[in-house]
Symmetry: C3
Subunit: 100 residues, 3 copies
Amino acid sequence: MKTHPMKLVTIIGEALAREPLTRLLETAGAHGYTLFTVEGSGAQGRRVADIREFANIQVEVIVPPAVAEELLTALERDFFPRYAMVAYETDVRVVRRDKF
Amino acid sequence: MKTHPMKLVTIIGEALAREPLTRLLETAGAHGYTLFTVEGSGAQGRRVADIREFANIQVEVIVPPAVAEELLTALERDFFPRYAMVAYETDVRVVRRDKF
Amino acid sequence: MKTHPMKLVTIIGEALAREPLTRLLETAGAHGYTLFTVEGSGAQGRRVADIREFANIQVEVIVPPAVAEELLTALERDFFPRYAMVAYETDVRVVRRDKF
């Protein structure tokens, strides 16, 4: 079984960001993503008073490393100042490279 | 805290594949899995016209590396020709090896 | 794009553990977590008769490596004897270290 290295980019943020976020994924060339609702609590900023409950979305997308870099850069520049959001990447290996 | 290397295999596919997929997991010797519903969009095939919205399932299972290899091989051979599906593996470390 | 290494700790367990689990995350200094409901099947113990269907929670939290170690130690000591639960960690890279 030959597998291929890719990046899984996970984005957790307020549901308000959904439309611009999926547009960003398309623009960046992502071939597909999954999205589901999560509960939780997070720190918005650094003051304790900012900690709050939320109902939020978790978006997961698998992309080549260069696209992951591009996505994370755009998220930090255009989304983080505007939305409560975190993003991280994970190394994964996919079965069929042509699907991503 | 001693942790042990395992593989997390993630499978995203149409809900239609649920029954044969969980049977495959049992046959392969997986000791447990989680399953949840996701939204998203994905490319089925390579033509733009094939891109579509879907409500789908995401299945996650932690297994030893040899079982991951077996699972991915069976998925590519028996499931990918039949179902809209992607699969990938991630290196993880578990607390108690005997649970997987 | 500078990213920073962190640990993603994933905990899957019965919903009954939710309150003590979120208290543990706060005590350990986690700055946020996500939580969602999953279906699945798992082996509780080692007898085949113990395999059962469940509706469960999956909690994901990103923390520095030392906090991951502390969390996994506390889970094994205080939660595993009491609740049906598994936990594992994954290496991830985050965009903004100060959020975690």
